[in-house]
């Protein structure tokens, strides 16, 4: 079956611009997670959704970052006024439920802020 997909695979933008990153989870998975991975580091938790609601957004670095999941399936991570330090690979994962379920990861979106 289809796995987690993320679009675009690569995004190059200029400092100060707004970007949206999209995640399509595995069908039927109720939990969805966003991570940021910098070179040489492990994934850094940003936010996770259980259904449509953000169950834990404690990892969002500041108010420039926002994520939505309006219908409990597709999610969009939105970054306003991008900064060079936002450059990273943004990973999305989904799981059947939160808790002890393993997560299935997408291939990521590589964001480069010039």
């Amino acid at each position: 079956g289809a796995g987690v997909s993320q679009t675009p695979s690569n995004k190059v933008t200029e400092k100060g611009k707004y970007v949206e990153l999209r995640c399509d989870p595995i069908s039927g998975h109720t939990a969805l997670y966003w991570y940021r991975q910098s070179l040489g580091q492990g994934p850094e938790f940003l936010i996770y959704f259980q259904g449509t609601g953000a169950a834990d957004d404690s990892g969002l670095p500041n108010d420039r970052f926002f994520a939505v999941r309006p219908e409990g399936s597709v999610s969009t991570l939105k970054i306003q006024r991008t900064e060079r330090g936002d450059s990273a690979v943004y990973l999305c994962a989904s799981s059947l439920l939160a808790g002890d379920n393993e997560q299935f990861f997408g291939p990521g979106t590589r964001l480069t802020v010039l």
Binding site: P43, F45, A93, D100
Partner: protein, 114 residues
């Protein structure tokens, strides 16, 4: 605060020899522990998890991990390494604190020489 430490940036092992990739964690209460693998140009893949029960858990591709509560460790092991096991390995811990935030270690690169 939750944390995960992978003390080795890199592990080198000869094909056919046993391998160990180390992981220690710090979390209050009972953790959920996971190992994921990342192959070049591919997304993170789940290997195995410890939730409760037997301290030795078996996972994909012949890998296993041993949970040691007194040492707060969850080392990944394989009795006989293959060249194809060469990849980046991440340990992760999840703990319920009103949500299921997952914390990943920085990763350990495994090189298996023929």
């Amino acid at each position: 605060a939750q944390s995960v430490a992978q003390p080795e940036d890199q592990v080198n092992v000869a094909e056919g020899n046993p391998l160990t990739v180390k992981c220690t964690y710090s979390v209050s209460g009972n953790p959920y522990l996971f190992w994921y693998v990342q192959y070049p140009n591919r997304g993170l893949q789940f290997l195995l998890k410890y939730i409760t029960g037997d301290n030795l858990v078996k996972g994909s591709y012949g890998f296993e991990a041993e949970f040691n509560k007194s040492q707060t460790s969850f080392h990944l092991k394989k009795p006989s390494a293959l060249v194809s096991d060469s990849a980046l390995y991440f340990c992760a811990v999840r703990h319920y604190t009103g949500g299921f935030k997952t914390i990943f270690g920085a990763g350990t690169r495994l090189f298996v020489k023929a």
